[in-house]
């Protein structure tokens, strides 16, 4: 890689999770052990391979490069080693094996407001926090007004931060870190806090950091939409190892579809599905999402989607079928499909299995992650079977055909529609088509 600023080679970190050694010790033994601790550690590291009393590899054999100006997202389940990786790269803890080379000033933001003291005022905390993040006093003084303006706390500058609302606190903390101007910025799940507007502002600031100023950002998030919008590349950590690495949208998609082995598979057997309610006289047995006739978890914005499900009726009955689509993270219900809207559909069914196909021409969803909730109700609207949180899927713009996906940072709302746009007057275009 031409301009690598981060090079990680075979990085590994081992933790001791057992506390066996410390159990049932007298105070004297503890004291002796305390003094001997650094001498012993070395031996235990050496013997690590053959002794497995509670030793785990939080991170193992991780290697990757990051070029200057790249924004790299790190994804993975809880406990996959994301935070450990960031902690090693921010020098908070040392790796057990391997090494990492970083070129330029590194700033890490593993938590919002680290080092803030509740008793100190906003003004005092800006200086303290700035110094802790590695800024010089003169530098902080220079950017002071900018930080205050970004955090929107002008009026509360001389109030102790313990009296701040949590939103103000987060804004101030992020503002200090955002103005650090590092060459490399390492950010852990910090956007989970703060309101939506501020999140957007932070995302914007982070984008500004990398795009305009050629800075490199490493970014851990569970917010796949933000991650896909913000990152060019992504790294998927799974139980301490790199499972996939590459273009962000592709890795996110791969990651989400792996979760799908259970909840988000585009093709799922619902016979033993746990997350459901209803009397169960009529039950869903199977559901799948199709694109071009094949099971798929990834769909195009304003493109086609087919929802197909099978249900079993014990007796001949009349059903009310509905499907509700909701966002993955916040579980906001976005749209509902009901069989009543389809005039040709006959809700009278005989006993036995029935498969229904719901064809959507142009999926009116913005880019993001969603899932379905399928409902079977009686005529009196009593729930027979309601299956929640199935068929997770992703909506993309242009389905990975372009090298960089549409950045929906500018996309508002959850829905979109194909509309007809045209000028009302004739001849107002500057250049007439040839």
């Amino acid at each position: 890689m031409k301009d690598a600023v981060i090079r990680v080679q075979g990085l590994g970190k081992q933790y001791r999770i057992g506390l066996r050694r410390h159990a049932n010790r007298t105070f004297g033994e503890m004291l002796v052990e305390g003094l001997a601790a650094p001498f012993r550690r070395r031996r235990s590291t050496r013997a690590a391979a053959d002794c497995d009393d509670g030793l785990i590899w939080a991170l193992q054999d991780v290697s990757f490069d990051v070029a200057r100006g790249e924004v790299v997202g790190i994804i993975g389940a809880n406990g996959a080693g994301k935070s450990t990786l960031l902690k090693i790269l921010s020098r908070i803890t040392e790796p057990t094996t391997g090494r990492a080379l970083l070129r330029g000033r590194v700033a890490s933001l593993l938590e919002v407001g680290t080092g803030f003291h509740p008793e100190l005022t906003g003004r005092e905390n800006i200086y303290l926090n700035g110094a802790m993040l590695g800024m010089k006093r003169a530098e902080i003084a220079r950017k002071f007004d900018e930080i205050v303006a970004f955090a929107e706390i002008e009026k509360f500058l001389d109030t102790p931060v313990k009296r701040y609302s949590s939103g103000m606190y987060v804004r101030l903390a992020f503002a200090v870190a955002a103005h650090l101007e590092p060459e490399i910025l390492v950010v852990d799940e910090v956007l989970a806090v703060g309101d939506a507007d501020f999140q957007k502002k932070c995302l914007g600031k982070m984008q500004g950091v990398s795009r305009c100023e050629g800075r490199t950002v490493l970014f851990v998030s569970h917010n796949m939409v933000a991650l896909r919008n913000l990152c060019m590349r992504a790294l998927w950590l799974d139980r301490g190892r790199i499972r996939a690495e590459g273009e962000a949208a592709a890795v996110v998609h791969e990651y989400l579809s792996s979760l799908g082995a259970t909840a988000s598979a585009p093709d799922v057997d619902l016979t033993h599905w746990a997350n459901r309610r209803g009397s169960g006289n009529v039950r869903f047995t199977h559901a799948r999402l199709l694109r071009d006739g094949r099971p798929c978890g990834c769909f195009e914005r304003l493109g086609p989607m087919t929802l197909q499900f099978t249900f079993e009726a014990k007796t001949p009955t009349r059903v009310n079928l509905s499907a509700i689509c909701a966002t993955s993270g916040e579980n906001i219900k976005v749209l509902q499909l009901a069989h009543q809207d389809s005039p040709g559909f006959d809700p009278e069914v005989a006993a036995g299995q029935h498969t229904v196909r719901v064809e959507i021409d142009r999926l009116p969803l913005q880019c993001g992650e969603y899932h379905w909730m399928l409902g079977l109700h009686t005529d009196a609207l009593v729930a027979e079977d309601v299956v929640c949180d199935v068929l997770h899927f992703v909506v993309e713009d242009e389905l990975r055909t372009s090298p960089r996906p549409y950045r929906s940072i500018n996309a508002h709302g959850l829905c979109t529609l194909l509309a007809d746009w045209h000028y009302v007057e004739e001849g107002c275009r500057a250049v007439q088509p040839v």
Partner: protein, 290 residues
């Protein structure tokens, strides 16, 4: 570091060719020296940490920094009444309040720095696990706070000397050196205890107890002259003995006990080296055990 950089250059010319400082992160087994360059780069943080501790301590207090003076003065008054007036402990011919205050000044500096420094890491684990900066600054900041308190309490001593008409001699020039020596001892012990406390919380209990015992093993309320001659060499192994005797001598214009002072220099420098070595050696695990 130099070796690491050259090694890296050989392995990775592309990376090394880019501008900006190169940071190498890798396991560093064994003993480590102090990263002087880094301490220097972060020096302003040390100032801010001391400033923070002082500022926070007197937030929402009525008399504020006067506490820094009130505490040693009250202690001095009580000691003068019980040890001086009632128990009639000899004070080498100077008024007992002056005598005991001259000992209390360095002792309180030392005791506060050690007890605050000892818990400095364990009470701020949120910093250890979330942000990088030279860890040495946390116990060092406690020492800095002690130094500020010492300076405030020292002004009272000057008043006390005027009151009793005790004029300082040329020996008073030795005071900065003795303050430095106290700081060295306090830093050495504080740093060691900080590293131990973060891993073994037993030391949270041990430290206050230890400081109390140490107080009685140090000639603060009594002069070294009441200790039998044959035991004095043992007393001198405690660096605070030499320091406090030296303080009294410098402030009260008495002859200086050079052998005891030399012993104090050796022992306190030794304590600093041992403390820092242990600290640096265990530093890499702080975030894991905190």
């Amino acid at each position: 570091m130099t070796r690491a950089v050259s090694q890296t250059t050989a392995i990775n010319a592309a990376l090394a060719a880019a501008d900006g400082p190169l940071l190498v992160i890798r396991p560093t087994p064994g003993w480590r020296a102090i990263a002087v360059g880094e301490l220097w780069r972060y020096r302003e943080l040390l100032y801010f940490l001391v400033w923070r501790d002082i500022k926070v301590r007197y937030k929402q207090t009525v008399i504020g920094a006067a506490w820094a003076i009130l505490q040693p003065v009250c202690t001095m008054v009580i000691f003068s009444i019980f040890f001086g007036a009632f128990a009639r402990i000899p004070s080498d011919g100077v008024p007992y309040p002056v005598f005991v205050y001259a000992g209390l000044l360095p002792w309180l500096f030392f005791a506060n720095a050690v007890s605050q420094g000892g818990v400095s890491l364990a009470s701020q684990t949120h910093l250890l696990t979330k942000v990088y900066f030279p860890r040495l600054f946390l116990p060092a900041a406690s020492m800095g706070v002690g130094l500020v308190d010492f300076a405030l309490a020292f002004t009272v001593y000057l008043g006390l000397m005027l009151w009793y008409g005790q004029a300082p001699g040329l020996e008073i020039l030795l005071v900065p050196f003795l303050v430095g020596l106290t700081a060295t001892t306090a830093l050495g012990v504080g740093v060691l205890l900080a590293a131990l406390t973060v891993a073994y919380r037993d030391f949270r209990i041990v430290v206050p107890f230890m400081v109390q015992i140490w107080f009685f093993l140090t000639p603060v309320v009594y002069p070294l002259t009441i200790v039998p001659e044959s035991w004095r060499w043992l007393m001198a192994l405690n660096p605070m003995t030499g320091i406090i005797s030296g303080f009294r001598a410098a402030l009260l214009g008495q002859p200086i006990d050079w052998p005891a002072l030399s012993a104090a220099v050796v022992v306190s420098c030794g304590a600093l080296v041992v403390g820092i070595l242990y600290f640096r050696r265990t530093e890499r695990f702080f975030a894991d055990v905190a």
